[in-house]
Point group: D2
Chain length 142, copies 4
């Protein structure tokens, strides 16, 4: 991945670490990065005018995660401020791949904590059968 390229295009969303996010190791529980990444994806979609509850009510479909590859580099701790990015890497008619990173925002520097590649598919909200992403939605994603 081209870092400079990505920085220029990525959507970013601030996340604060609370007690709920940590575990007895004193750090953010690793499963919770999937929550942070999802918040950033949701806000990225919202920034494009796409609200997922409304999408479901109008189209009958929802996005689901079909694959996720995570790499953990450094731990985050209580009260840390993170910046979480989302960058659309690939887009097909039934799925897309989003590259995401969580950065620790320290006073004079930033440090990469965790990165992920997340594949999202579109399914019928009742049957969970894969379906084509509605064309207007695909266009909004550019």
């Amino acid at each position: 991945m081209n870092q400079v390229q990505q920085d220029r295009q990525a959507f970013s969303w601030p996340v604060r670490v609370y007690w709920e996010d940590t575990d007895a190791g004193g750090i953010v529980f690793y499963a919770n990065y999937l929550k942070f990444f999802e918040r950033a994806r949701t806000e990225w979609l919202r920034s494009l005018g796409l609200e997922q509850r409304a999408l479901r009510e109008t189209s009958g479909g929802i996005f689901v995660v079909s694959a996720a590859n995570l790499r953990y580099h450094q731990p985050a701790r209580l009260d840390d401020e993170l910046l979480v990015t989302a960058w659309l890497q690939e887009k097909g008619r039934a799925s897309m791949t989003i590259v995401q990173q969580a950065w620790l925002m320290a006073p004079c520097t930033k440090e990469l904590l965790c990165e992920a590649s997340v594949r999202i598919g579109w399914v019928d909200a009742g049957s969970y059968k894969p379906a084509r992403i509605p064309p207007t939605l695909l266009e909004t994603l550019k």
Copy 2:
């Protein structure tokens, strides 16, 4: 509450403490006792033949929590074995109150960690409007 009386009648369910349950204080995150209590209530209902997903599909209603009062006495830690109880204290036509406790099961003793009184109401699964608990369900609860 009469402890002896309750011990005799309470349903109990074992819960093990995993990393996911703890926080950076090194102990079980206090909100998670609500999860432990819900597991015990769900298994208590299941022991009476009541599966909540099936209940919803056949009756169109679900149980929701309308109030919870929690007292925290001692913390639990990673790898601890708890015993969580559920005891039907009061039963009306639209709601019921369940008294619950979480005990630490140590080799030679047990220690009360947390106790709660949880009020459960019955609502329509679509509108979330309060409704009467179905009579057959009420009878099963005795």
Copy 3:
């Protein structure tokens, strides 16, 4: 509780509802209001200059929840915007009581979803034995 009085003095913090917060009932899982309330308390403390990780490192103590009384009025759903308040009701030398509310912020109105009274104690971070809240901390809380 005097509503007008409280509105004037309460600290408030916005919370957005994400997938992680909901359950199969289609609404926010009730245990998660304890997370929302904790975020608001943490931000209220931060607004007074109190960072909990730093507090622990300098004083050796931490706040723990010793009791929580919750009332659930209306459900929240995916994408909803909430406003969560925290208001210091009572303050002693070893504990304090905070009244909290979660409001749904709709375009033209707001609706009370959940309210709680949360008692917080101060304990030694190693032994979890109750202790007196450090005087400088107490003064900051006014």
Copy 4:
């Protein structure tokens, strides 16, 4: 991966789906499979006589997840019974790779819901610096 081979050697652990595990899509929230997989790994270690809290107190080290690759095949729903497996695929001096699967256990069949490859490293519990897995621990892992 050789399925027959794996079935023969994998440790397995039952997991029940509760309200806390689901989201507004009506299915298990995908991040929660990381919790299910961790429970199975923890119980696999426990079956070998390794308790993680005791390990930390005696060795000063803990296991942390350094990478996770997840594939989601089918959703699970409230009340479903899962069987979660853990199988040690590779073992080095500072890390190991565990292959895990979550199966839906239906009356007459089982269905693969999710599979993951999880890389675990050993770190100092204070500094989170990578370290060698203690030799006695490595031997217990065979």
